[in-house]
């Protein structure tokens, strides 16, 4: 056995032993508060067993291992339906950015350790009502206030803000310069006076995203994680991390095996649907697409492991996988005919076709819409011209509304 196979076996055995306590069956019927509490205990168990922060430095409580171990663990973990999604964003983007850019190292260390043990959760306050795809168009402002800053404005689509202890935030500190140049990156205490969180109920019935309002929220200057006016670059770093975190060739929907099983178990014109050419065509195409993404992801990890920078093809995953998942989910409902009406709004979108279908549009919009991603590929990878941008180079406060 290679080292990695040994690691996989060790991880699989541990995860198997945790499944009765924290897995899919243990979570059935739990209210969200209880599920979150279970999730915190699971995260602590991971930490104690040496499976939290697998590829993070040991001085921050991590294991000091590589991306391959991390991905190996994740793939095994995914099989059991553990309550880990409350920590996905927290440990995926804000906390790694804090590790990299936080100025008070003792504070950073304390926060990272608490986050790794599931005691604290971080959110990422980027999108605004006036700027989602156009991140640099954001309007929330921070003005100098004594030795620190005062924040006013509104963020939106903030995942898990209602459970978060802290957040990282990009705000405008100078409206008199062009939009990318007037932004600064801070962390904020989500329990501070003036911070108001309001959940937004999404189309599928879930409420894990929020509006977050800032009314005269005062922070000291040591909350700053970028040079004044240098916040956009740090935000882009965050989004680059996101690119390699968000690599599920199933597009965060069900595995193709589940579709194959459905097609084998469903009779169409008196024969198993798996024998129907239309169904076979879609299975074959979806497999080819997913195996291509898997290979891209494996190659990217091998390159990172070897100290190389992976290619831009890593940006294809979300674009290609989520829109395919949307169509495949529609087909899965078609296959079930009127049996497809049945709907459980708490079902997992990784296991249930209706849940996958109704939540798919979120995936095509969050973290860069399909159209924004195509623009990014066209402009940054292929060198095609930028779109006409009337706000380019104009001071933010002079851009026509």
């Amino acid at each position: 056995m290679t080292d990695l196979e040994t690691y996989r076996a060790k991880a699989a055995a541990w995860l198997q032993s945790m499944a009765p306590t924290y897995g899919r069956e243990a979570r059935k019927g739990l209210a969200e508060a209880d599920d979150l509490a279970l999730g915190r205990r699971y995260q602590k168990a991971k930490f104690d067993a040496g499976f939290a922060g697998i590829n993070w430095p040991t001085e921050y409580g991590g294991q000091g291992l590589g991306h391959l171990e991390k991905v190996t663990f994740d793939a095994e973990e995914m099989k059991h339906g553990f309550p880990n999604f409350y920590f996905g964003i927290s440990l995926g983007m804000p906390v790694p950015v804090l590790m990299q850019f936080g100025s008070d190292r003792d504070f950073v260390k304390e926060r990272v350790l608490k986050a790794l043990q599931g005691e604290e959760i971080w959110c990422q306050l980027f999108s605004e009502p006036s700027g989602g795809s156009d991140l640099a168009g954001l309007r929330t402002k921070a003005e100098p206030d004594g030795n620190g800053w005062k924040i006013n404005g509104q963020k939106v689509w903030t995942s898990w803000a209602h459970y978060s202890d802290y957040g990282v935030i990009v705000v405008r500190t100078d409206p008199t310069v062009p939009k990318h140049k007037g932004l600064t990156y801070f962390w904020v205490d989500m329990k501070a006076p003036g911070v108001t969180v309001r959940p937004i109920k999404l189309a599928g019935g879930d409420s894990h995203v929020n509006e977050v309002f800032f009314d005269d929220v005062k922070i000291s200057d040591d909350h700053r994680m970028s040079p004044v006016g240098g916040g956009f670059a740090v935000a882009i770093t965050t989004l680059m991390i996101e690119r390699y975190v968000a690599t599920d060739s199933a597009g965060f929907g069900p595995h193709l095996d589940l579709f194959v099983d459905l097609a084998k178990d469903t009779l169409l014109n008196g024969k198993p649907a798996i024998e129907d050419g239309r169904i076979r065509h879609q299975i074959a195409r979806n497999h080819a697409m997913r195996s291509g993404l898997d290979s891209i992801n494996v190659r990217a990890r091998l390159m990172m492991q070897a100290g190389m920078i992976p290619g831009a093809e890593g940006s294809l995953n979300k674009l290609v996988a989520v829109r395919s998942r949307q169509k495949l989910s529609e087909l899965a409902i078609d296959l079930q005919g009127t049996d497809g009406f049945a709907f459980d709004e708490h079902a997992s979108q990784k296991e249930d076709w209706a849940s996958s279908w109704i939540n798919a549009p979120t995936g095509r919009i969050a973290g860069g819409s399909d159209e924004t991603l195509l623009n990014t590929i066209a402009e940054k990878v292929l060198g095609l011209p930028q779109d006409h941008r009337p706000d380019k180079g104009i001071p933010f406060n002079q851009i026509p509304a």
């Binding site: 497999h287 091998l302 159209e371 060198g383 095609l384 006409h388």
Partner: protein, 364 residues
Amino acid sequence: MTILYDEGQQAIATESRRVLEARISKDALLPLLESVGDYHRPFWDTAKEQGWTALALPEAHDGLGLGLIELGLIAHQAGRSLSGAPFLTSGFGAAKAIELYGSDAQKAHWLPKLAWGESIGAIAFAAGPDALPAQPDVTYTDDQLSGIARGVSGGLAADVAIVLANGSGMPVLALVDLSGAERIAVPSFDNSRCVANLSFAGAKAETLAVGSAARDAALHILALQAVVTAHEQTGGAEVLMEIARDYALTRRAFGQPIGAFQSVKHRIAELYGLVELARANCIHAASREGAADFITAAAAARLSATEAYDTAARDCVQIHGGIGVTWDLGLHLHMRRARSLAIEQGSSLFWEDVLVDRLAGEAA
């Protein structure tokens, strides 16, 4: 096997690109379209001179002992440059059939000739829409082949063929010296493929495999060739994406480069996605030779590469507008090649079935 190319492999990619770009031009390829039976001799001479014919064959028989990954890199460049003959893939398939299923005498006789490119090999499995027919048109009786194998790429020039034949109701994989066959040229939209109907009337043949083993062997050979062809298709798709990009940067309309319009730039960005998925599947499939999931990986590579090349041919011409459909610009060379490669080694319909049969088995 790792899917990161090592330095030697990268050198193969760089050197084959340099050589082929220097020696192949559309001006040499366009006239071949209008004559039946000719191929681009400088391409084939280059393949022999550079050792590409020997690349993936065993050292014991004058090969270089490399594998699918290295041959795939050559094929990728052959796709970019529009290879002038189909023999690199067909000869590889024929040689692998002899290497894997032939006798010592057959290997000793044919493999060095194929490795040196002195002999050209061809594969004759298909009967029209059926890539691996249960009842092939060619029959095998008493060490002799009879009947017609239709649409054999390279058949007009080949010296030896591997034929899937019907031996009294049982499939037979047969090796036949084509000196005893009649070749009937098939005029095609891509004439340098040298497509022929091979007509046998009691041609002397030798068996490589019989019964279900013959069918398994034929599928394996087809999969090996499909991986090589998928690389070639990906190379073609990649170069068309680049041509489309370059044109969109220079051609202006309505006061700006047409690449600034999202309808055009998104179309090219979508091509990038198709090319990268095909490339990733190709690299993966080439690294799985000998593994249990090789056929599945080959099918995925084949499907995504066919889609990439066809779509790139369609869209690259569309982005060019009127100039794109002219004879002289030559984009139709890629349109034609995309379709020839799509129907050689089994079409997408065939590989979809192969793939789903396997996935359905695994998901049981």
